[in-house]
Every structure is written in structure tokens, then in C-alpha cells.
Point group: C2
Chain length 118, copies 2
DNA sequence: AACTTATACTAATATTCATTAATTAGAATA
DNA sequence: TATTCTAATTAATGAATATTAGTATAAGTT
């Protein structure tokens, strides 16, 4: 298999792993937690999503090797495998279409988020 | 709707648009064509995929505003909306897991591609 | 046992993708 | 203008696959 196809396939898989609002938020929350990590319970509270659902999304990110787990007592803490992921992801904001007229809300939201997620 | 959710949703959609091997390759090919653009016919030849299939993938990228079209005679030329997309995408190579032992092929492929796609 | 997280399973829903066929758009020629 | 050829988009199909959330249960820890 040509290198280009191998790599494109892998990249595509990574993108798909990031292809859900919830998982994007998990990545950002992980990056901005105090110690760069959060346990599942905290994520459930932050995202306001049921626990099994969070676990499933974490499982997707885990399979894509984007996050890693660490057990501490009865809690499992998640963190980014590569700290650069969150900021790379934010650089992707450039490619959102904030020009079109009906994208005013998005435009404002992007500004907000740039500040919050830095 | 909170800004974080708005942005995460949009980002996720963009990521999903990139979530197919074929579309990744289209983006890279567009970026590396002589004039930064290619017509559909050229893409068909390069990717060795049927023409309607290419058109569909292009349509996905178009809806995500990642590419734009320009008609010249009977040909339609595509180019990236934002020239930075291809290199940002390549920076994502960092997040592919090339450490695990069975990822030797991938590791080599990534090196190759870094050279070719620069 | 109590607490936290992961997994199994379900069911609904959705999507995705490639293929074939039909359609639109432009160019060339009669 | 009508016809024809080429290029590309769109529509329609259909199969496969996936996704998601929910409920229930299991597993690991204290």
C-alpha cells in the first residue's frame, strides 16, 4: 500500500475520532484542567452527559490513542497522550467559515472560545 | 447555546468532512498541484476513483467550505479555500501513533509522506 | 457494601459510500 | 438554432456499517 494511502487512512481515522462535539469538548477540557487531567466523574458533570456515554466517547479517543488513562483509587483520570493536540485543534478554528452573514453567532463564539481555551 | 458547544459542533463537522482517506488525499493533492488547483478529471486520474465518487467527496469538502470551485470552459477547478489547511493537516501527523511495534509500516509511511507533501 | 468506571446489549437512527443513471453546463460544429 | 460531444453534478439506489443514548450489569477499589 502506497505511503500516501496508509497515512491518509490513519489521518482520516484520527479525524473521525474527533468528529463529535462531545469528544472535542473532552479534549479541550482535559487540556485545561488544572493538572491536565480529569476523572470521568468530572467530565460527566462538566459535559452534562450520562456516565456511560462519556465512557464511550473516551473509549473512542482511547482507541485513536489520543488520550490515556491512569487509575487512582476508584477513579480513572484521563489526559491527552500528546499535549499539543488541544492547541492544534484550536488552530483548526481558522478553517471554520465565519465569513458568511449567517455565521455571526459562530464568529462571536469562536472569539469567546479562543479566549477561554486559549 | 454556549459558545463552547457551538464551536465544538462546528469543529466536529469540519473534522468529519476530513474523515475519509479520499478527502484527505484530495486536500493534499490540491495543495501540491502546480497552481494550487486541479480539475475533477485530474483528481480522478490521480486518485484512481470513479468520477462521481470524486464529485461526491468534493461536495462534502465544499459544504464544509474547505474547498472552492472555479469553472473554466467545461472543466471545474478546485482549490483550497484556505491554503493553510494542507500544512495544518500535516501537523496532525504528530498525533498518529507511530510508537507501537506493529506501526513500523506507518512510521515509514509518515516519513515518506512528510517528504512528499512537505 | 458503597462507589466509580467500563462493558454488553439493545434499538433506533443515521450515515456513509460506491454504483448506476439522469441531468446540467459549456464548446464545437453543422 | 440544433446537434453533439465532453465534463461535472446530482439523484437514486442499496448495502453496509456505524453511531448514539439508554438500561442493565460487571468489574475494580475502598
Amino acid at each position: 500500500m502506497p505511503a500516501r494511502v496508509v497515512v491518509a487512512t490513519e489521518l482520516a481515522e484520527t479525524f473521525r475520532a474527533l468528529g463529535h462535539e462531545c469528544r472535542i469538548r473532552i479534549v479541550e477540557e482535559l487540556a485545561h484542567g488544572d493538572r491536565g487531567e480529569l476523572d470521568v466523574h468530572s467530565l460527566v458533570e462538566i459535559l452534562k452527559v450520562q456516565q456511560p456515554t462519556v465512557s464511550q466517547h473516551l473509549s473512542v479517543l482511547r482507541h485513536a490513542k489520543l488520550v490515556k488513562q491512569r487509575r487512582e483509587g476508584r477513579s480513572v483520570f484521563y489526559s491527552l497522550t500528546n499535549r499539543g493536540l488541544a492547541s492544534w485543534l484550536l488552530q483548526g478554528l481558522r478553517f471554520l467559515d465565519t465569513r458568511s452573514q449567517d455565521a455571526e453567532e459562530l464568529s462571536r463564539a469562536v472569539e469567546d472560545v479562543r479566549r477561554v481555551w486559549r
